[in-house]
Amino acid sequence: MTQPKAIEVKSVSKNFGTYQALKSVSFNIGSNEFFTMLGPSGCGKTTLLRMLAGFESPSSGSILLNGREVVDIPPHRRRVNTVFQSYALFPHMTLEQNVAYGLENLGWDGARIRARVGEMLERVHMTVMAKRKPAQLSGGQRQRIALARALAPEPEVLLLDEPLSALDLKLRQAMRDELRTLQRDTGITFVFVTHDQEEALDMSDRIAVLGGGEVQQIGTPTQIYEEPVNRFVADFVGETNFLDVEVLEVAAGQATVRMPFGAVFTAPATGHTTKGRATLSIRPEKINLGDQAQGIAFEGQIVNKNYMGGYTHYTLNVRGTELRASRRNASREGDTIESGATVPVGFVAASARVLAA
C-alpha cells in the first residue's frame, strides 16, 4: 500500500487478568481503505476495534491515528465514530436528534447541523422518518440511522462492529452494497469487524484474519482465499480439503509433493514449507468431477451428495481418503452424477496450496 496510513497498530498487546487477548499485534490501515478484521469469536477483533475507538487501552504497544499517538486520548476527543452491533441509538431522541448529537458536541452552529442532518438522512433514505423515535423503526432502518449518525461528523475513521449480524439475509446483502457505496462516496476509512467470511470477502479492500489473539494473515480477499498462509486461514475462510502430503522438494515458492494416494506434482507453497510432512489445501470447487476432470487425475467414489440448487456438494472416497468437491449446476441437467458411482476426479496443481503441517 502506497496510500498514507490512517491507522498504525504497533505491537499492541492486551491482557485481561491472565488471559492474553492480543499478542503483540501490528498492522497498518491505509486512508480510504475498507479494512476488515475477520476472525472467530474470542480472536481479539472486537478488543482491537474498541481500542481504536478508545474504549479500551492496550496493555502495551501504541496506536497511531493519522500519525498521532492516540492511546491516551479519550473516545470523545478522537475523530473516530462507531457503528455499534446493537446500534446503540438513543431511545429518548428522535432520529434527527440522534444524527445531530455528535455535531452538537463538536460545536457546529444550528444551521450547519440542520443541513448536515438533512443530508445524512437523505443519504440513508430516512428523511420521512426524521421525527420518529428509534423504537418505531425496523432493524434495517435502525442500522441506517446508526450509520448516518456515525458518518455525520465526517470522522477520520469509521468503525463498524458486526453491524449486519442482527439483520435478515436479504437485508444483509442489500446493506453490504450500501456500505460499500457509502465508503466509496465518502472516502472515509472503514474498519469493519465480522466473523462472517463471506461479508469480509465481498466488501473489503483488505482483510486481516485474526485468530488466537494474533494476526494470521493480511491481504486482499483474493490473497486470503487463494493464498492462505496457514491452516487456520485456509480453514476459517471458505471450505477446504486438508490432505497430509510429503514434501519432496522446495524451490521458489513451489513444492513438489506426494499425495497419500500416490500422485506426485508441484504446487504453490507458503514460505515456511520444508521437506517432510506438510498439508495440502484444495478447495472443493477446484476439484472437478466426471467429464470436467483435468490436471492431476485419479478416480473416486461418490459417498454422499448434497444438492444445493446452484451447486451440488459431493463427498468422495479416493482410496481411503475423504475429499469434498462441489460442482456448479451449469445446465438443467448439470446434476447427473449419482451417489455410489465411481467417477474421474482431477484438479489443477496450481489451484492447490502447500501449507506447513
Partner: protein
C-alpha cells in the same frame, strides 16, 4: 406500571368457573381490604372528621362542625373576634417544603454518583454495596439521630477534630437547620440511592459509549443521556425522599432543637402540649392534600410520557 398488567382472572367457558375465580379473588383479597380499611382509610377518615370538629375547652374536641382548624393556618383570632392574617404557620409550611426540597436535592446529588459507582462494580461486589447502603435501616432511627448529635454537638467528634486543626474550641453544629438537614439527608439517602441504582443498572452501557464516541464528554453524557434515561428512577427516589421529609418529626426536634418547627413537629405539638386536635388534624389534612396533588401531577406526567413513546 400500566393498566394492562392487572389481569382479570382467567375467562373460563363455564359460568360456575368464572364465579369460582370471582369468589377466590374476593376472599383472597379480603385480608388486604380489611388491613387497608382499618389501618389506612379509617384513620384518615377520623383525622378528616376531627379537622372539621370544634376544639374542646380543656383539650379534646366536640363533634360540632367548625372550620376554625383550617382558618387557623392562615388567620389568628384577635381579642375582639375578628380574623387577622398571620404568616406564622405559613412560614412553618414554607420552611418544611424548603427543608424537604433541600433534602431531596442533596440526596440526589449524592445518590447519583454513588448509584453509578455501584452499577459499575462486578456483580459480587454490587450485592455487598447495595447491602451496605441499606445497612442504616437495621439500626433504630432514634439511635442514628443521636449518633449525629454525638458527632456534631458541643464536645462532639467534629468540633474536637476542628479544634485539633486550630479552629476555636467549643464550636457546635447542633440546633440549627443545617443539623436538621444533615440528619434528614442521612436518614433518607438509601431511599434515593436504591431506585436510582435500579434505573442506572437498567441503562444500556453501550449508549454511554455511543455518547462518548460522538464527542460527548462526561458532563454532556450525564446531562443528555444518563439523566434523561434514568429520570423515572430519579423521580421515584425524589418522591420517596420528599414525601416522608415533609412529615419529619424526629430530626427537627432532636437536631434542630425544636425551636424552629417543621409541619411534622407542629402537628405533633397540636395533639400533645398544644391540645388543639382540630388544628393539628387540619394541618395534617393540608399536608396530605399537597402530597396527593404532587403525586397525581407526577403520575400524570409520567403517564403522558409513556403514551408519547
Amino acid at each position: 406500571m400500566t393498566m394492562d398488567t392487572l389481569h382479570l382472572p382467567f375467562a373460563t367457558k363455564r359460568a360456575s368457573g368464572a364465579r369460582f375465580w370471582r369468589n377466590l379473588s374476593f376472599w383472597g383479597l379480603l385480608p388486604s381490604w380489611l388491613l387497608m380499611g382499618f389501618a389506612l382509610i379509617l384513620p384518615i377518615a377520623i383525622i378528616a372528621a376531627v379537622s372539621v370538629a370544634t376544639r374542646g375547652a380543656h383539650g379534646g374536641f366536640t363533634w360540632d362542625f367548625n372550620l376554625a382548624g383550617y382558618s387557623q393556618i392562615l388567620f389568628n383570632e384577635g381579642w375582639t373576634g375578628e380574623l387577622e392574617f398571620t404568616p406564622q404557620y405559613l412560614m412553618i409550611i414554607a420552611r418544611t417544603f424548603l427543608l424537604a426540597g433541600a433534602t431531596t436535592l442533596i440526596c440526589l446529588l449524592f445518590a447519583v454518583p454513588v448509584a453509578y459507582f455501584i452499577s459499575r462494580q462486578p456483580p459480587s461486589q454490587k450485592a455487598i454495596l447495595v447491602y451496605l447502603v441499606t445497612l442504616p435501616f437495621w439500626v433504630s432511627m432514634i439511635l442514628r439521630v443521636y449518633a449525629w448529635m454525638i458527632i456534631l454537638g458541643k464536645e462532639g467528634t467534629l468540633p474536637r477534630l476542628l479544634e485539633n486543626l486550630g479552629f476555636p474550641p467549643g464550636m457546635s453544629f447542633m440546633f440549627n437547620d443545617g443539623a436538621t438537614l444533615t440528619a434528614m439527608v442521612y436518614t433518607y439517602m438509601p431511599l434515593m440511592v436504591l431506585p436510582v441504582f435500579a434505573s442506572i443498572e437498567k441503562l444500556d452501557g453501550t449508549l454511554i459509549e455511543a455518547s462518548h464516541d460522538l464527542y460527548g464528554d462526561r458532563w454532556v453524557t450525564l446531562r443528555r443521556v444518563i439523566l434523561p434515561l434514568t429520570a423515572p428512577g430519579i423521580l421515584a427516589g425524589a418522591i420517596l425522599v420528599f414525601v416522608p421529609s415533609l412529615g419529619a418529626v424526629l430530626e427537627p426536634t432532636l437536631m434542630g432543637g425544636g425551636k424552629q418547627m417543621m409541619m411534622g413537629s407542629l402537628i405533633q405539638l397540636q395533639f400533645g402540649g398544644g391540645r388543639n386536635w382540630p388544628f393539628g388534624a387540619a394541618i395534617a389534612m393540608t399536608l396530605m392534600a399537597v402530597v396527593l396533588i404532587f403525586l397525581i401531577f407526577t403520575a400524570l406526567r409520567s403517564a403522558r410520557k409513556e403514551t408519547a413513546k
